[in-house]
């Protein structure tokens, strides 16, 4: 225990040793300097004139957004349906692709370590690229539309579902697997009767969770042309029709709340 002595020779308790204390000071100094350096770079690239009148701009924005132009909601039902389709079909497609990838990536079910690292590579690259970037790529390849959105969501979901699912596979009980292999079952049969029943609840939970996230993400995919309500959002922003934008925001807010509620209910029922 770090103890120092007063001039009378009495021991005094301290939280850290002298060395640890100094190291801590130096770490703080380095961290704060790094932060200030970054702050300076941002501040150099900022037009402070625009920041100074942010309050006025914000008030102006709010005054333009209210009252919402409720009539515009009638135009939005079809884009909203498209958005839901992008999220749901994208999730379904993503799950279908993630399922085999997860089995290849889990340490206890992979056929070969080399295949495992390839599967992990797929998962990592899918996870590190945002669905909006996937959508940008796919819009240039497939052309604007719902299809690009569906595939973008699917590609992004592979990494998420794959990662959580392979972690679930690695955490299964080995006993049922051993019991079924002992009956002389083939590799596929062991997967089917030993592994699959153990991961099914986790799998359903992960899928619903990802669906909920995808609903949020699909609302903005239209900003890069990949269909859904984001297209209308982009159009309204470009024409500075802020009263329409607020209607869109309210619809997005409501949809996200409902999807979150459904996902929470389903996950609660499973667990």
């Amino acid at each position: 225990m770090p103890v120092s002595f007063t001039s009378q020779g009495l021991p005094v308790w301290r939280r850290r040793t002298t060395r640890a204390q100094w190291l801590q000071y130096i770490a703080w100094l380095a961290g704060v300097s790094l932060f200030l350096l970054c702050w300076k770079m941002i501040s150099d690239n900022t037009m402070w004139v625009f920041v100074e009148d942010a309050g006025r701009q914000g008030a102006d924005l709010i005054s333009r957004m209210t009252p919402p132009e409720w009539g515009y909601a009638n135009v939005l039902w079809k884009p909203m349906w498209d958005t839901l389709n992008i999220a749901t079909l994208g999730t379904a497609l993503g799950i279908v692709m993630a399922f085999p990838v997860a089995f290849l990536a889990a340490r206890n079910t992979t056929p070969h370590p080399l295949i495992r690292s390839a599967a992990l590579m797929v998962i990592v690259s899918s996870r590190s690229i945002n669905s909006l970037i996937w959508a940008m790529l796919l819009v240039t390849i497939l052309g604007p539309g719902v299809l690009a959105g569906i595939i973008a969501i699917a590609l992004r979901s592979i990494g998420f579902v794959g990662k959580l699912l392979y972690e679930a596979i690695e955490e299964i009980h080995p006993t049922p697997v051993e019991a079924i292999s002992a009956t002389g079952a083939s590799r596929m049969q062991v997967m089917n009767y030993g592994v699959l029943p153990q991961i099914m609840p986790a799998f359903a939970g992960i899928s619903v969770y990802r669906w909920d996230i995808n609903i949020r993400e699909s609302t903005v995919l239209g900003l890069v042309g990949a269909g859904g309500i984001g297209l209308q959002l982009n159009a309204s922003i470009n024409s500075l029709a802020w009263d329409q934008v607020s209607v869109i925001f309210i619809m997005i807010f409501a949809t996200v709340l409902v999807s979150e509620w459904i996902s929470a209910r389903v996950r609660h029922a499973i667990i």
Partner: protein, 283 residues
């Protein structure tokens, strides 16, 4: 009452299953127990799929035209071009990284008071509701939607991006921090309080040591998320590598886009690796 009834019922079901198995009619347990719900969900899914697929319009001519571009793009991944737009890439990356760091620091600093306020066991009810409302607003909207609003308010550039990411960080960190505080070991708080400690001293010596490892781990995780997000909010003008990527894609310079994507993947991998290292070290 219902629990008492259920126990013999499940026992009866188990016996029925065993008898069926002895007759050679074994079937595995379904995931959803109620047959009506199971079939209802399946039929609903089929009807939905039919309706949804019917409403998806695909321009196959455009898709086949794009196939050539897809091949070009895959080819570009084999030969990424880091050189010809070197300056733009470096400037964009620096902007993204500085935005990531400052926004995480600001966001975490602001999230701590909000998180303390949103923990039901240490804050009074009015403060609890205010803090929960802040969390709900910050979590519902996508970063990019918030970025649109902040770009209008603060002008184009990394400042708007930083504010956006900091705002999103508040909701994320405060929610997880509040949950962590809500299930902390209450005996330590009582022990510190029993010595006559003030509110600040209780926080500092009873609450903080318990949540600190997780707080550091979450901050590292959020740093990672903020970098990923900073690579897209450039699309709406909030600075960072996203703007460079968007420009290169619309100029059909796929080799530059491939280079940027590879850099993003590499940095995310590095972040993930170091954050798992830091988490192991703090726990």
């Amino acid at each position: 009452m219902s629990e008492q009834l259920e126990a013999p019922l499940t026992q009866m079901k188990a016996q029925a299953r065993q008898q069926a198995a002895q007759r050679g009619e074994w079937r595995r347990l379904p995931l959803i127990e109620s047959a009506r719900l199971r079939w209802g969900l399946a039929i609903g899914a089929v009807i939905y799929l039919f309706l949804a697929l019917a409403s998806v319009e695909v321009n196959w001519a455009r898709v086949s035209e794009g196939a050539g571009r897809a091949v070009n793009f895959l080819g570009a991944f084999m030969q990424p071009d880091f050189i010809s737009r070197y300056d733009d890439i470096v400037a964009g990356l620096l902007e993204s990284l500085t935005m990531t760091l400052t926004s995480t620091v600001l966001g975490v600093l602001l999230a701590i008071p909000v998180g303390l306020g949103a923990a039901r066991n240490i804050s009074p009810l009015p403060i609890y509701f205010v803090c929960r409302a802040i969390i709900a607003v910050s979590r519902t909207f996508q970063e990019i939607i918030i970025a649109i609003l902040f770009v209008v308010m603060f002008g184009f550039g990394p400042f708007a991006g930083m504010i956006t990411l900091a705002f999103a960080t508040i909701g994320f960190m405060a929610k997880l921090l509040a949950e962590d505080i809500e299930d902390l070991d209450w005996r330590q708080v009582e022990a510190v309080r029993a010595t006559g400690a003030s509110w600040w001293q209780t926080m500092n010596h009873a609450v903080q040591p318990q949540v600190m490892p997780r707080l550091i781990g979450l901050s590292m995780y959020r740093l990672d998320i903020n970098f990923r997000e900073s690579s897209v909010i450039g699309i709406v003008g909030a600075g960072g590598i996203g703007a460079t990527l968007n420009t290169s894609l619309s100029r059909y310079e796929y080799d530059t886009s491939a280079a940027i994507l590879l850099i993003i993947i590499a940095i995310v991998l590095l972040c993930e690796y170091s954050s798992s290292h830091v988490r192991r070290w703090t726990q």
